[in-house]
Amino acid sequence: MPIIDAILDDFFWRALLGGLGVALVAGPLGCFVVWRRMAYFGDTLAHSALLGIALSFLISVPLNVGVIITCVVLAIALVLLSRSHTLATDTLLGILAHSALAIGLVTLSFMPDVRVDLTGLLFGDLLAMSRDDLLWIYGGALLILLLLVVLWRSLLMSTIHEELARVEGIPVERLRLVLMLMFSLVIAVAMKIVGVLLITALLIIPAATARRLARSPEHMTLLAVMFGFVAVGGGLTLSWHLDTPAGPSVVVTAFSVFLLIYGGARQTQV
């Protein structure tokens, strides 16, 4: 259809469509990050995305695939390492987050013929969204939403009380793995819009904003999606008109909404 083609030919609309697709899954996943106290964990995975990009160039696979694989491997390594209890989890995450970022940067610097827009990768780029990226985003979002709907009760139960969930026959360990796969997927697709350094913000800030008004877990995820839409829409418009970097503009918008809600709205009773 010509109208859709016209829209998809415009880089701003592509970025906006992509951003809204990311916000669609960042809302519910962000709620789980907040509920399960995984903010630092998300940060670590996001930082490792840069390493994933470097590795994708090294072995010539599509960037998204490289990023997803690196995130998943790191996530599994984190789970296994945190079981040994030799280092506190936050120390371990701090080590891995920054090491992954540093190794990624060093590896990229060894590849002079590869021209990457480092600022774009770190902070997001309005111009970088291609039609292929849109396919990735909406394909990924569909998969994640489907998984969330099917696994919702089990995921929620294992978040509320892990042992109770296990006694009731919910496969808690497998669900954790699925959740990590979803995080990896969302990081891979969100990278283009907000950049690896700011992905966690897009997960956490809308969810935290939603908490103030939410009456149930489901209500909170819906509100988080809505606040995510506002952040992406507002941020990209800001970036377009004022020529500010895309990722930071989205995060600044999300933060403004957060301040507004926490300053203005009365806390709910649930």
Binding site: I160, R166, V167, E168, A214, S216, P217, H219, Q269, V270
Partner: protein
Amino acid sequence: MTEPLVTLERVTIAFDDRPVVDRVDLKVHRGDIITIIGPNGAGKTTLIKAVLGIQRVTEGSVKLARNLTVGYVPQHLILESTLPLTVRRFMALSGRPGSECQAALEKTGVGHLVDASIHHLSGGEKQRLLLARALARKPDLLVLDEPAQGVDINGQAALYDLIRQLRDQLHCGVIMISHDLHLVMAATDKVICLNQHICCSGYPADISHDPAFIETFGQPVAESLAVYHHHHNHRHDLHGDVVSGAVTDDNHQECDHAHH
């Protein structure tokens, strides 16, 4: 009826080669209330986690009756403050219909709290909610980890009473961990004193005389319990009036609970 709900055979659980639970044998039948007592670090929680199937056993075996539904009442319900959750929603997560959830809440005396936020419940209300959650599953076996924690002293007695009533109504087996020795002694069929291994087990009136029990808990505790049992062949309600019904005694083991 005769087949036990749970059979533990020489169960040993070791962390880093240090046995936390050492060769424990245990059988739980329908209608039993078995209380595990013991000092801190005695492996009580580890043992019931093995029964629940969430703790791997190093040696020995845990056998559960077929199609056994277990209701678990964990020590705490610590809910992340960022998660908005009402009592109704929490109960609904059990997957049971609303009417059954409401009935379970009524049974444990928190039916009026169905629309309350879990964040606003007191310690005792949370314990009763967890108990209702376990009941909604219609359990054959009820496993409770220190159910009276964070509950005031009157509430504790009422809670143990409730557990006993529920056992009678559901005709399920009950295993619980408790620190409230005096209350346990009055409300239990069988006491297991665990200190890695089972150092003694039996009926409440006997166990306080057991040398192993005295060694574990000390002479003063054992004596206070022995005195308690000597002088009470009746129970008091909250106002101090004598109520009918003898305390558990040795004959209780033959009692087959003919109340269905």
